[in-house]
Subunit: 389 residues, 2 copies
């Protein structure tokens, strides 16, 4: 196990009716800016619950944060926050709204060119507005971590940043808010957390037995309850479990003391920036191909994944180690397909031309040595994309 | 899944050499009281590392905190802290030293009779000195939670208390500090976390699939690495894994949104208070008997435990559900015995007279309705102890 330092200060308020708890979670004197997206919170009752809970606090609003939050939109929000002397942000929505709110929180306090925040990955953030979140679309884990991804369409860039000042003070996870989600969003909420776990788990062994088993536990839980949650859209318990899985997949815990990959995400980000695929769709496309291309380097953990997550063992599956590894990758692909996320570029009407374009973008963004061993060069990324055609 | 609110602010500094990190984790201007036990930290190099890391900060010391920390000792420490105008406590030791430091932190700020802190279970704590810990004996999980147990020998009482003000600001987990532990302490560090998980897991199902799988992951990890850690006392990786298991077993995470039992602990506390058994020894005695006596109420989770943790399934084990449950309990008993914790009262030279004495104590301490359904009456506790003879 590698050395690590871990602290996660976010308070989780989990369960039916917990939106009301923001009444005590936000300081009474706070000047609040409520940040949200396209307005679905006005249709599903979340907005009304928030306004009721905030009572007579001063609340301004900023709506229109996009599905991949746009730099220019967020800068406008930061301007509004400064102008209105806002001292607390409240995000209501999914990962994009919460990611966007993290940027607004930092940008509202930042002196100088805000683009520098993204160029420096957030290391230059010295101050940020405090904020909380009300999660309505579980997937990204943003509600309990300090990371964020911001989009700048004009230059086709999707840029991650993070800073300990960007942990939400609290996040409300009320599974009832997810009962009205469209199927596609629920699909994303199954695939995205699954791949978050894989990025932190499927690398090479470092003797971190407990982290492995916790990661396997989250994967098993997503596999056991994800398809059921899709099939039973009114089932609170299943939604609750998927919601908590999504948070636990990326709150830092399972990544403590282990190598991490993230090449699937970096390649996937370019597919979203170029072609507008949902983030989770890009992961469903890139991951299986990535595992196939790098199966030698990931040999030991892939065998462990096959055995512990998919119960593919030497005893019950004929053939070589490689056969069992391939069987586990096929299971993974089939799982993505079953929950509604096709796993090939062609399923999204993309072909060879997309490969060249993605490689070009990776090069521009200096993503030339990805993965847990920094050996995913542009040539390897090309191989992965080719395997995903 | 039940509703829950969860926040754990403790920073974990994990790994070889991390004691040095207290140099930045403790404020430069702090007036520190170093709290420790019998002085083993002076023999294993921990004390020297602490003093070196603290540099020219003002440090006073309080040593002699007992294995089950004594109320009167801790009150003396609180007096010393007040007298020396201490504003930061640093615990160095195992769960007893950290538990004791939590009480000192609260008692040093408490107006009125400090015994009230224990009578009220800590709910009346309004202020506490900030503190950090350097863990040298993983077992209790005190390093990343806000609970504590204090002993008062004169009245044979072992009293738990807790308060959010009693989370350590940081805890250093350096597995090298555990390499010199006596076998008995390592045994305790395997059995205690195992039973902590069981108390939060083996109750009745509430649809919390993820929490179940995380709990099962910790149990599997303790089973996989505990005996090896005993057999290979110089193996850093194994010690590191057991250390992290012990913390994760009781930092609140797996207990979120699920019913909890804790009757094994409450009965066990009385055995320690009366006869001086190690805490983990009492758990090894009480747990198997407890599971046998309450196997109907715990039927579903016991079957799940048998299948997922011990791989005892209908397919590979003949007989009824009850046969498989009994097989899982036997496996649990054998595991405790294998790691050095005998599971019968007679192994500790206790017989019928102990049962009467424990029941008497439970009654005095109002422990008359224990367990996840509050149905462990004195009669049930007596049945459990009888089954443990």
């Amino acid at each position: 196990m590698k050395n690590f330092s871990y602290q996660n200060p976010t308070r989780i308020l989990f369960g039916d009716g917990q939106i009301a708890a923001i009444a005590t979670a936000i300081p009474t004197e706070a000047r609040i800016m409520l940040v949200y997206g396209g307005g679905s919170i006005k249709n599903n009752g979340v907005y009304d619950q928030i306004i009721a809970a905030l009572g007579d606090r001063i609340v301004s609003e900023f709506s229109g944060v996009e599905a991949n939050p746009e730099y220019t939109t967020l800068c406008k929000a930061a301007d509004q926050a400064k102008q209105d002397n806002i001292d607390f942000l409240l995000a209501a929505g999914g990962g994009s709204v919460i990611d966007g709110t993290k940027f607004i929180a930092a940008a509202a306090c930042f002196e100088g060119d805000r683009w520098d925040i993204l160029l420096k990955g957030g290391r230059n953030i010295e101050q940020a507005l405090p904020f909380g979140s009300i999660l309505t679309l579980p997937a990204t884990g943003s509600e309990m971590n300090s990371g964020s991804v911001v989009n700048r369409s004009e230059i086709k860039a999707k840029m991650p940043f993070g800073n300990p000042l960007c942990y939400p003070q609290f996040s409300v996870l009320d599974p009832t808010t997810t009962l009205t989600l469209p199927t596609r969003q629920l699909t994303n909420g199954i695939v995205d957390p699954f791949v978050h776990v894989i990025e932190q788990y499927l690398t090479y062994p470092v003797g971190a037995d407990l982290q492995d088993r916790l990661a396997e536990g989250i994967l098993q839980s997503i596999i056991a309850t994800g398809p059921k949650a899709l099939a039973q859209p009114d089932n609170y318990e299943l939604r609750a479990n998927i919601m908590w899985c999504a948070t636990m997949a990326l709150n830092g815990l399972i990544g403590n003391g282990v190598p991490q990959d993230w090449s699937t995400h970096m390649i996937g980000h370019e597919l979203t920036a170029l072609y507008g695929l949902d983030h989770a769709q890009t992961l469903a496309v890139v991951l299986p191909a990535n595992l196939r291309v790098r199966k030698q380097a990931k040999h030991e953990k892939l065998l462990q994944y096959a055995e512990r997550v998919w119960n593919i063992t030497a005893a019950n599956h004929e053939g070589t180690d490689d056969d069992r590894i391939e069987a586990a990758i096929v299971k993974t692909e089939q799982f993505f397909i079953d929950v509604g996320a096709p796993t090939r570029l062609q399923n999204y009407n993309l072909g060879d031309e997309a490969i060249a374009a993605v490689i070009n973008q990776l090069e521009r963004h200096k993503m030339v040595a990805l993965g847990e061993s920094r050996d995913v060069t542009l040539a390897v990324s090309r191989e992965i994309l080719t395997a995903a055609l």
